[in-house]
């Protein structure tokens, strides 16, 4: 694979994760109390971890991400909130925002996979899509066990 396109692809992905960090940073700015901030800080730290992981792969020149997509619990598709959380956001609001964000990333990579001409780039996007599905799954499971306990 062409080194330039590899670098380019990963730079794109790293950019996405940086944007996610920013997403949480922005929400933290709106947060009013400690519980919100702690939850947002945890998720932000996770995204920073992703940035570090992808940066590491970039410098090593190889993507080692599992190609297996996580099971879709089907929550993202039907959760309503497109609106931004407010200062009164509760755990449900934060989780929904997180799930939606991961879904958007997954959708993006899916379209990139479809559009990619270089089979190597395509493979990287496939792996990134799978990775995002795992992130989404993580939040969906949290939602199931912590929020929708009774449904």
């Amino acid at each position: 694979m062409n080194t330039a396109s590899f670098q380019e692809t990963l730079d794109f992905a790293i950019g996405r994760e940086r944007a996610a960090v920013e997403f949480y940073r922005e929400l933290t700015g709106k947060a009013a109390f400690a519980a919100q901030k702690s939850a947002l800080a945890e998720f932000m730290a996770m995204e920073e971890g992703h940035v570090a992981m992808l940066t590491g792969m970039k410098s090593r020149g190889a993507v080692n991400l599992s190609p297996g997509a996580a099971v879709d619990l089907g929550l993202a598709r039907r959760l309503a909130a497109e609106e931004e959380p407010t200062a009164a956001m509760d755990f449900q609001d934060i989780l929904v925002a997180a799930i939606k964000k991961e879904e958007r990333s997954g959708d993006l990579y899916r379209s990139l996979v479809a559009a990619a001409l270089d089979p190597d780039v395509k493979a990287i996007f496939e792996r990134l899509e799978a990775e995002e599905s795992r992130h989404k799954r993580y939040f969906e499971e949290l939602y199931e066990t912590q929020v929708a306990r009774d449904n």
Binding site: A32, F33, A34, A35, K37, S38, A39, E42, V71, L73, G74, R78, L79, A80, A81, A88, D90, F91, Q92, V96, L142, Q146, V147, A148, R149, D150, N151
Partner: protein, 593 residues
């Protein structure tokens, strides 16, 4: 004496030519009869190590011993009976009484060894040739020493029940309670499963003995809410009950209620321990639910001055505002709370902590703080249209009912969810004359609600719609048009519970006057400021085993109840409160943690 008397005896000689009675030596195979009471066999997987065999053995031939690879777990002590054949008399009363039916006897009776110590073994654990023997003594069909059937609990007829908020479960008479208490074998397997580790066999014995003051004292050792828990406890103890392994478990919850119901509040102080001398220490409690008041009770008993800060106009928390009065009538709850207050616990009602009364200020004024603010906020449906004015919050509906407000639910009500809040909201709606559909995303057997509640909700006329994934709420001329997608359960990952998968195109909708959302609840944590330094993770204060939160600065902060534990029931909150009270006492009295 005649001649016959001399001749007749010679008739024995005819036997010389007949087949002898004896059998050949070495012994021919001579199996024991199919019912023979031979060496014991035990299905070690079915056995729960309750020790009832040991209790009935009049020879003390049975020991309960630990066995390798079988640790204690809920409903199983991990111990297994070991039989000493130096003492066993083969009466098989152990087989007759075995609650699970795991212990039986083979029809094998020959076992020869020169070492007398081998005649002692743990059936079903130490392999023997007669293991799994199909023959041998078994309890006869229709014969049991123990009673596997629970004494029926008188309940209002469901047609009657649904017309009012009268208490559904009527409680037992003395005779009924004593009969039910008689079913208990005092094995104590239940104690570990109770979050508060109540002394269950002890208070059941007190019922049997008619000594209710002792019973009450045993209840209060670990639980100052016997009236409430005697009605609405999630009774995990009953799931562990050894009698329940082959029959109805002992109705531990109803027996607890019986004790508390029978003793008048005025007589409580005679049975219960007095407070210790004043310690001069002050403790603040936030939230007057079961967790907070349990902590208050034990702290007051230990001589500390306790002030409870409650946001609502009455104490009790979810016991009052979340549980309808047909399950827990207010006088019963008031009795529990009344006794706690009688010890000098001060409850400041209508006094939320937050603005004006900050956590920081409590930590200034008190020597310790216990947070038990529970999960008061209902989570939303999170589907498009969830803000429709006819989409109501289940917790708020129940609280409004408690406050006696007009609910105005209308004639057709949908309740979304499968927990106890959903069932209670549905039954409250039924009592307000509505026809009710309960929509749940999974199947009935997956519902987290108490099976009794589900059964009663259905009996009272609620219609259960299973596998209904909410999609949207639309307006229909002021009413709510609720749209859901029928699901099929798909086992997506081994070992995990199946996931409801929407069936493409199977969209249903129904117009309701109200849609009550009861999918789950969350905490209200805005009163904890960053400056308090209380460590919070995923909307839960982080606490150690005693309930001590990580917090910088002045008075220590403890937390318990639904706010931090995962069981999210009253008895766990009560246990948390008790544990925190003990830890606070140790801290304040300098006894060390």
């Amino acid at each position: 004496m005649d001649i016959k008397d001399f001749i007749a005896p010679f008739a024995v000689w005819k036997r010389a030519f007949e087949k002898p009675f004896t059998v050949k030596k070495p012994i021919d195979e001579r199996p024991g009869a199919p019912r023979y009471r031979g060496f014991h066999i035990n299905d070690a997987d079915k056995c729960v190590g309750c020790g009832t065999c040991e209790a009935i053995c009049m020879n003390r031939a049975i020991d309960l011993v630990p066995v390798e690879g079988r640790d204690a777990k809920e409903g199983d002590s991990g111990l297994r009976p070991r039989v000493d054949y130096g003492r066993c008399c083969w009466c098989a009363l152990c087989v007759d009484i075995c609650p699970s039916g795991s212990l039986n006897m083979s029809n094998e009776y020959v076992w020869i060894d020169s070492d007398p110590d081998v005649f002692r073994y743990t059936p079903g654990v130490e392999p023997k040739p007669w293991d799994g023997s199909a023959l041998g003594y078994r309890r006869a069909e229709g014969y049991r020493l123990l009673d596997g059937t629970r004494v029926p609990m008188p309940e209002l007829d469901h047609h009657e029940a649904v017309k009012s908020f009268l208490e559904l479960v009527r409680g037992w008479s003395r005779e009924q309670a004593e009969k039910e208490a008689d079913r208990c074998v005092s094995c104590g397997l239940c104690i570990a499963s109770c979050p508060a580790h109540m002394e269950i066999p002890g208070y059941i014995k007190a019922v049997r003995d008619g000594d209710l003051e002792t019973g009450l004292r045993l209840l209060y050792q670990t639980n100052p809410f016997p009236e409430a828990c005697g009605r609405i406890c999630t009774h995990r103890c009953e799931e562990a009950c050894s009698i329940g392994t082959d029959g109805d478990p002992v109705a531990i919850r109803w027996l607890k209620r019986y004790i508390a119901d029978q003793v008048e509040l005025a007589d409580y102080s005679k049975a219960l321990p007095r407070k210790e001398a004043s310690s001069g220490k002050r403790v603040a409690i936030v939230g007057a639910g079961p967790g907070g008041l349990s902590a208050a009770y034990y702290l007051a008993l230990l001589g500390h001055e306790v002030t409870v800060h409650e946001k609502d106009e009455a104490a009790g928390g979810m016991l009052r505002y979340g549980i309808p009065e047909y399950r827990l009538p207010y006088p019963a709850l008031d009795k529990d709370i009344g006794y706690i207050e009688s010890l000098g616990v001060k409850i400041e009602r209508g006094a939320p902590v937050g603005e004006g009364r900050s956590l920081a200020s409590l930590r200034e004024r008190f020597d310790a703080v216990f947070l038990s603010t529970g999960l008061p906020a209902a989570y939303g449906l999170d589907v498009p249209g969830e803000k429709h004015p006819r989409v109501l919050d289940g917790v708020a509906v129940l609280a409004a009912a408690t406050r006696g407000q007009v609910l105005g639910l209308g004639a057709r009500v949908a309740v979304v969810g499968g927990g106890n809040v959903a069932m209670d909201a549905a039954r409250t709606a039924l009592r307000n004359g509505a026809s009710v559909d309960i929509l749940y995303r999974r199947r009935e057997e997956d519902m987290p609600a108490d099976p009794d509640e589900i059964r009663e909700a259905k009996a009272e006329g609620a219609r259960l719609v299973e596998k209904a994934i909410p999609l949207e709420v639309k307006d229909a001329g002021g009413k709510a048009r609720f749209v859901w997608n029928e699901a099929t359960m798909v086992q997506k990952e081994a070992g995990k519970r199946p996931v409801p998968e929407p069936i493409p195109g199977a969209i249903h909708e129904e117009i309701y006057d109200s849609v009550i959302s009861a999918i789950g609840q969350g905490p209200e944590l805005s009163y904890i400021a960053e400056a308090d330094g209380v460590e919070i993770r995923r909307f839960k204060p982080v606490v150690d085993r005693d309930g001590l939160a990580t917090a910088a600065g002045k008075a220590p902060v403890f937390a318990g109840g639904d706010l931090v534990n995962d069981r999210k029931d009253a008895i766990s909150a009560i246990a948390d409160g008790h544990r925190a009270a003990s830890a606070i006492d140790r801290l304040l009295s300098g006894k060390g943690a």
